[in-house]
């Protein structure tokens, strides 16, 4: 298991834990759903699970298990892999903090922090796809 895969998977497991605990807390407080914080944390919960847990787990396993790109570069570009990891997590963490903050007290300055979050997450996924594309093929003979 490559080092980058271990970082992807351990980070994904932490998001899984945080996401499920947050989801559990939201379920427990469902009876008080008129509270603003409940609606505000729902998108954070789903994104922690979908992006932080599932997407990151899939990225880590794909980086590890997909057919090697070449003998010298089995994972193609390791730098692009690390870029994906960094950008995805920075973007997601920024979103997890700024989105509920902006929803509870909308301010122009705070809202603009969602722009780098969006750019980082989109860039992370595109870079992952570009770096992985050449490895999606049949077994080399």
């Amino acid at each position: 298991m490559p080092t980058l895969t271990r970082w992807f998977l351990k980070t994904a497991m932490l998001y899984f834990l945080c996401g499920f605990v947050l989801g559990g807390v939201l379920l427990i407080t469902l009876g008080w759903k008129h509270q603003a914080i409940f609606g505000v944390l729902q998108p954070v919960y789903w994104h922690l699970l979908m992006v932080g847990w599932l997407m990151q787990c899939i990225f880590g396993v794909a980086y590890w298990m997909f057919p090697p790109f070449s003998k010298d570069q089995p994972q193609r570009s390791e730098a692009l892999g690390w870029f994906t990891y960094g950008a995805l997590n920075l973007g997601l963490l920024l979103r997890a903090v700024v989105e509920p903050w902006h929803s509870l007290s909308p301010q122009v300055g705070v809202g603009w922090l969602l722009v780098p979050s969006a750019v980082l997450q989109v860039a992370a996924v595109w870079v992952f796809v570009i770096n992985t594309w050449g490895r999606i093929r049949g077994r080399r003979r």
Binding site: M1, R6, L9, K10, M13, L14, F16, L17, G19, F20, V21, G23, G24, V25, L26, L27, I28, L30, G31, W46, L49, M50, W53, L54, C57, I58, V61, W64, M65, F66, P67, P68, G138, R139, R140
Partner: protein, 134 residues
Amino acid sequence: MCLAIGMIPGGLILLQKGTGWFPVLWVLLPAHTYLVLIGGLSQCTLGVCYWIFPRFDGGASRGNTTLAWCSYAMLNAALGLVVLHPLLQGLYGDVAANAAFASAGTLQGLAALTFVWHIWPRIRPSATAARRPG
């Protein structure tokens, strides 16, 4: 199975959106989202992690499998409570539905905790080269 079952309330809700019939079907929304995303996609990912992550003792042991089984049981018990909440609400009222959600929330958190406890030591360099399905 959860994925397949979870698509049925999703389809019914979409049908309601299009036709306006039976607005009461929206009560199935938590069941739909939980069955598809937690019971289907998350559980599939957890199963694959349990299967392919490096093992111990030269491939003979997956470590503490009791923890993984506990996680499986708690996750599915939580799912069952969320899916059955409309029935509990109908039979016993809002208090029972809220109690079901509260129990589901606690079980869900504990399921995550036990699975991470099981899998964490297995996220490490493989003892032998990984098999590469191709």
